[in-house]
């Protein structure tokens, strides 16, 4: 057995992890940008509360987050049972793993994007409005393009967090091979069985490679974006 020959189960874990992390990253992006913008640019009642709720998954034990997700999005939970009527089920599905990863990665994503929006010169936004752009156009033609480095950073942080997410995932959607078994849970399982060390090591190497690769790509993209918008 060479280092790069994986069993079908191990391949499945790699494939599933990439899918879960990508979906978590892409699906939370619009919400992340909206929340980051609200926190960066608007004053409203309950802003501190929103900020706190967004950051909760960062400070709570992941198991607690996972359990709360199970309580609300489980088949018997208030939101879970409501969504189940439309055939949207999270509990013990890969979609649930994506939801758990998105929730865990969300604070990191929002922080990065928020910082980036705060760094956008509001005087440019004012200039844009005097040229005829309403609030929405100002956002899409000035704020958003100038925030792209922060958005890339936020996406990569979210992706990396999702690739490594363990506690909330295993609590919410368990560890079902082929459905919810991602790289971390697969590694954990392999370390629990006799003779699983070789497999755990291979998946660990793959995990490191993916993380490094993601980091590298984000560096390149961010550098390009920064060069493009540098004043």
């Amino acid at each position: 057995m060479t280092l790069f020959s994986l069993t079908p189960e191990e391949w499945e874990a790699v494939r599933l992890s990439l899918k879960v992390a990508s979906v978590a990253m892409v699906a939370s992006l619009p919400v992340g940008i909206a929340v980051a913008w609200l926190l960066a640019r608007r004053e409203f009642w309950g802003k501190s509360l929103l900020n706190g709720v967004v950051h909760l998954p960062l400070v709570m034990p992941p198991v607690v987050t996972g359990y709360l997700l199970l309580l609300t999005f489980g088949t018997k939970g208030p939101i879970g049972s409501f969504l189940a009527q439309f055939g949207i089920i999270f509990a013990f599905r890969w979609t649930g793993a994506a939801l758990a990863c998105a929730v865990m990665g969300f604070p990191l994503m929002v922080r990065a994007i928020r910082l980036s929006i705060e760094a956008v010169d509001t005087r440019l936004e004012a200039a844009s409005s005097t040229l005829g752009a309403n609030a929405l156009w100002v956002f899409f033609t000035v704020t958003l393009p100038l925030t792209i480095p922060g958005i890339i950073a936020g996406m990569i942080l979210c992706f990396a967090k999702a690739m490594g997410e363990f506690g909330a995932t295993i609590t919410f959607v368990s560890n079902i091979p082929g459905e919810t078994q991602t790289l971390p849970t697969a590694i954990y399982t392999l370390t629990q069985v006799p003779g699983g060390d070789a497999g755990a090591l291979k998946l660990t190497a793959i995990s490191i490679a993916i993380s490094l690769g993601a980091l590298l790509i984000s560096e390149i993209l961010a550098r390009r974006a920064v060069q493009r918008i540098a004043a």
């Binding site: 010169d121 005087r123 440019l124 004012a126 200039a127 844009s128 409005s129 005097t130 040229l131 005829g132 752009a133 309403n134 156009w137 100002v138 033609t141 000035v142 393009p145 100038l146 493009r228 918008i229 540098a230 004043a231």
Partner: protein
């Protein structure tokens, strides 16, 4: 098109209370730093929601707090040229220019790109990024961007303040052409006497948020008391003249007006071109008899209209020269020696090289 402004607004410790009407042309808003100039233009632009305001351009009411009218900034169609250019760093020069154009409804567009690029000399910069432009180029692109949005009104907030002297000199001719060729009212904020007197048709002088004086530039120019002490040397008279003839041999241009002829160095425009000259009070010499055999080329005949004290040692003598005013700063001693009084006929002597005229054409 006319511009009518009345604003009362409290901003921090500053009580802004300004009202003026202008028939068009360039209205300069002049005053020291912190007197509320920028706040005033921000109210006009719609970037500040004022406590009380009534502002209209032509027939369009931009804001009327008493009737609950507040047109948001993006619907005012006001070209705003900021002190720091504020070009969008993620767009090329072309993208920046197209930005405002794109938001202006087709039926409202009057600005054509070709003439504006030519007017501002920016046609060769289109593919460049704002970061690759010099300060003067940035400011010209910013002016172009504002104009291409086909604005009803152009606001310029110290567009030259961030530039060094040679860049200022580079842009000034473009601003003069702008004044003469663009038919919309322009509000030009500045704390520089030289800029204001060279460009403005009307001047609003602000002090601590209040309107200290408002009137035609030629009148305000003589009010040396309105000029801050450090710039008092720049004060004097401005006379709007026309190019009468050129002297090719010596490279002079003769300008004519009711006040008489004035020669300035360099070649300025074709015959008939409007040309404003500024004659600093400290550069004017007075004589009771027409002087001959002197090097100064410009001798204007007039009568003393008023004498006012300038400081402990000198007085400002206002001479009425065929309807135009020339101000001379002379010592109290000289005024007494010449027995100057209102009604005394006198000659104002000005060297051609000390007259500030429009930029001469490059040789």
């Amino acid at each position: 098109m006319s511009l009518s402004v009345a604003v009362r607004h409290r901003l921090g410790s500053l009580d802004l209370d300004v009202a003026f009407e202008s028939a068009g042309g360039i209205t300069a808003v002049f005053g020291a730093s912190g007197c509320g100039k920028t706040s005033l233009v921000n109210v006009i632009a719609g970037l500040i929601r004022p406590n009380f305001a009534r502002i209209s351009v032509g027939d369009t009411v931009l804001v009327d707090t008493e009737h609950g009218i507040f047109m948001p900034a993006h619907r005012r169609r006001i070209g705003y040229v900021f002190q720091e250019a504020r070009l969008f760093p993620h767009l090329t020069v072309e993208g920046n220019l197209a930005y405002g154009e794109w938001f202006t409804p087709k039926s409202q567009r009057y600005a054509a790109r070709g003439p504006i690029l030519e007017l501002l000399g920016i046609g060769n910069l289109l593919k460049r990024r704002p970061r690759d432009l010099s300060g003067g180029e940035k400011q010209r692109v910013a002016i172009g961007r504002a104009l291409l949005a086909s604005p009803r009104l152009l606001l310029m907030d110290e567009p030259l303040a961030s530039l060094d002297a040679s860049r200022k000199a580079e842009i000034m001719p473009y601003l003069e052409r702008l004044r003469d060729e663009v038919k919309i009212p322009i509000v030009y904020v500045s704390h520089s006497v030289a800029e204001v007197l060279r460009l403005a048709s009307d001047v609003a002088v602000l002090a601590q948020g209040k309107l200290a004086a408002f009137g035609p530039a030629a009148e305000i120019a003589q009010r040396l008391d309105l000029v801050p002490a450090e710039e008092r040397e720049e004060g004097g008279a401005i006379i709007d003249m026309k190019v009468a003839s050129h002297d090719a041999e010596f490279g002079l241009t003769r300008l004519a007006s009711a006040a008489g002829d004035i020669h300035v160095p360099g070649r300025i425009g074709p015959e008939g071109t409007p040309a404003r000259v500024r004659i600093r009070a400290r550069d004017v010499m007075l004589a009771l008899a027409e002087p001959t055999h002197i090097s100064a080329l410009n001798v204007l005949r007039g009568t003393v209209a008023a004498i006012s004290p300038a400081d402990a040692y000198s007085v400002n003598v206002r001479l009425d020269c065929g309807g135009a005013a020339v101000v001379a700063r002379i010592t109290r001693h000289s005024a007494a020696a010449l027995k100057l009084a209102p009604g005394t006929p006198a000659f104002a002597v000005v060297k051609a090289v000390s007259v500030s005229g429009p930029a001469a054409e490059p040789r």
